[in-house]
Symmetry: C2
């Protein structure tokens, strides 16, 4: 069974937005065990859309279409489908009822304007897909040997409609239960090509599972999917992956570094403070992105200026004068100072050079010193990690700091 994905709408062709709808649908199709033959994006032109529908109908079994279901003049997808299928547009009372119910739910009254009523005119014979998150009902229709599903272009509406309305219908077509088991491992410290090499043996050992990688810089998410209910145990596959990647697996539950560190601190009933310089608040931001961080996260100081390092974190003037802001000793004193100022069990610190300026021969761009202070004392290490991009350097420094903390927490 082969599926294709079709995006309709000028905004993708103008480069104003990137086609995240199509990549979402491709991932879902992959999870449903359906191969994707191609993705096409066309503009708001009835003839072009109609031609694309006809062409795909002649070669695919399934087609997922997004966009062009709105109330304006540029929304031409239903009309294009009518042209391609030969099934004329007619007012669909199920669609109309669905839209009216949505309007009432939003408090807009029962009176659909003529502009909105257009959205209930669907090709004869189409089945309605309810939209619980917007005004445009979707629809499905068979053209030739291809089953088409038409969804709105607004990502949140499309995703909800796919999950609630399209996915069950797809599973009827494939005969699968749709029960899938997904295991995720989060990996840090290896490039994707090396992860791929280390896991090359997977496909022959575990043919019943599918393996995928997604870059979530600076992590790599390794995803295992099992689609058979009575197939082999996915944990054997997961354990094998863990073995191949060793210490680079920071979470076998697919948690991010911030989530995993938070989990370990919560389990231990311990608290954390952070002292940042070059990462500029990013570590604190990543930690507090995790709901429930208030259980363990007390305080972070971003001490950009040396005066702040001394005043807030009590880094000694001598340390700064002798070694400079970017030094293991400075990082260690920052961590100790944050731990004390916050009154926490643990503290981690960063001080370094994210670039593009500020590097020297002795301390090039990418130099970062990371300190960890805990119940048993404090230590610090220096790294040189330059990706060539300031923002990515900050992310990499932050991740390295959290990893250094995590390794202390799992001891």
């Amino acid at each position: 069974m082969i599926a294709e994905v079709l995006s309709t709408g000028d905004e993708v062709l103008l480069g104003d937005i990137t086609d995240t709808n199509s990549s979402f649908l491709c991932r879902r199709l992959k999870e449903a065990g359906i191969a994707v033959g191609g993705i096409t994006a066309v503009g708001d032109d009835v003839n072009v859309i109609s031609h694309a529908i006809e062409t795909i109908a002649a070669r695919a079994d399934i087609c997922l279409v997004t966009g062009g279901l709105g109330p304006t003049r540029d929304d031409l997808t239903a009309e294009a489908c009518a042209e391609a299928s030969g099934a004329p547009l007619e007012r669909n009372d199920v669609a109309l009822a669905s839209m009216t119910a949505y309007f009432e739910k939003r408090g807009w009254g029962k009176n659909l304007s003529r502009v909105n009523e257009k959205q209930a005119w669907l090709p004869k014979g189409a089945g309605v897909l309810e939209n619980h998150n917007g005004t445009a009902p979707g629809f499905d229709i068979t053209i030739g040997n291809c089953r088409f599903f038409f969804m709105p272009g607004v990502p949140s509406e499309m995703r909800l409609m796919f999950t609630g309305q399209v996915k069950p219908r797809l599973l009827e077509l494939t005969g699968e239960t749709g029960e899938i088991t997904v295991e995720r491992l989060m990996v840090f410290g290896l490039p994707e090509s090396v992860v791929g090499e280390k896991l090359e043996g997977f496909y022959t050992r575990f043919p019943e599972f599918s393996l995928g990688f997604r870059a979530r810089f600076p992590m790599i998410e390794v995803k295992l999917v099992a689609r058979q209910e009575d197939g082999p145990d996915i944990n054997a596959a997961k354990d094998w992956v863990s073995e191949q990647l060793g210490r680079k697996v920071i979470s076998s539950r697919g948690l991010t570094l911030a989530q995993e560190t938070g989990r370990l601190l919560t389990e231990a009933g311990q608290t954390l403070s952070v002292a940042e310089s070059c990462t500029g608040g990013l570590i604190a931001s990543l930690i507090t992105d995790v709901a429930g961080a208030s259980e363990y996260f007390l305080f972070s100081a971003t001490t950009y200026a040396n005066s702040a390092k001394m005043n807030i974190l009590k880094v000694s003037r001598k340390t700064l004068e002798d070694n400079g802001a970017v030094h293991e000793l400075t990082a260690q004193e920052m961590a100790e100072g944050a731990r004390k100022a916050g009154g926490s069990d643990w503290a981690v610190s960063t001080t370094g050079i994210a670039g593009p300026t500020g590097g020297t021969g002795e301390k090039p761009v990418g130099t970062v010193c990371i300190g960890v202070a805990g119940p048993d004392g404090a230590s610090a290490r220096r790294f040189v990690l330059d990706t060539g991009d300031r923002g990515r350097n900050k992310l990499l420094f932050a991740a390295t700091a959290l990893e250094m903390l995590r390794r202390q927490l799992v001891k």
Copy 2:
């Protein structure tokens, strides 16, 4: 003149990556004044790629292709092009020389493995496009009435090759100089639909310019492009846009809030400290993303726990007990405390509820109090801004805080 964009490679069809190459190329084509007829993505299959090339050759004037130029077995684009064009693959000495030079530059020696040498086998008659950032040379070739440009799939390599090699050749085709004038305005506080409505009159008033919007949540970037050298002055168009949007334009140079705030502080020779709670370090992170922030940014405290608000920022216990952490008075004391602790001219603070939990009837999710402290005193305001998503709420809180500071700085 109509162009199409073709992506080759399984990873897009698997949904592992989103097709940012195509959206980049669409934006560049738009800037070059070339309309895009469609985008297609196909997998690593010689026949499918060849068929796509043939189909596009029959209907477009220009085609930009990415992917499939690497050294592995899955890299089939050159072969597919040979099939579609009828021009057989042959060893291209210009390509070989270009690759050898790149290998030497990287210190890999002159000895190309047989695997890499495959990358110098191009269709007979193809012109070489040098790759200064990777091993795969690109190439261009005419098939029928369509000029094809083949580029690598790695985004950084593709962008460099496009800018340095493809764009000049496109301009030869269109006869334009490629001189474009681009003006950007950054807008905050209006949804895109309202911005669109307010600027509806643009197209009739300024037909020589193109107007585009890009969502950069929570900002909207309005972009004006003029392609004619001797056309009307773009500043008249820019001024008109500014007038329609009024106070919502935070920068008429397209600077982000963090950049604009930094610019104003640098101009005034003033410094800034920040006190954050619910934004968790995000404000500091946004400020320090701007190179040169060390000129004005001294210090940020993320005081997640009330103990930290008292110990570090000297917020009074009474204020916290009487009003709670999320209150105008707390925000004001946080700002005053950060200003004092950092020894800066200005300070801004946030305390609120980003969600999804933590809201109450009186203080629902989205409640945020923002304080600003400066040479003339301190003040604070309360807002309720809920996007339904924790991460987006944090971004919106941070932007609102920087905007409140910016308005003080421009007085």
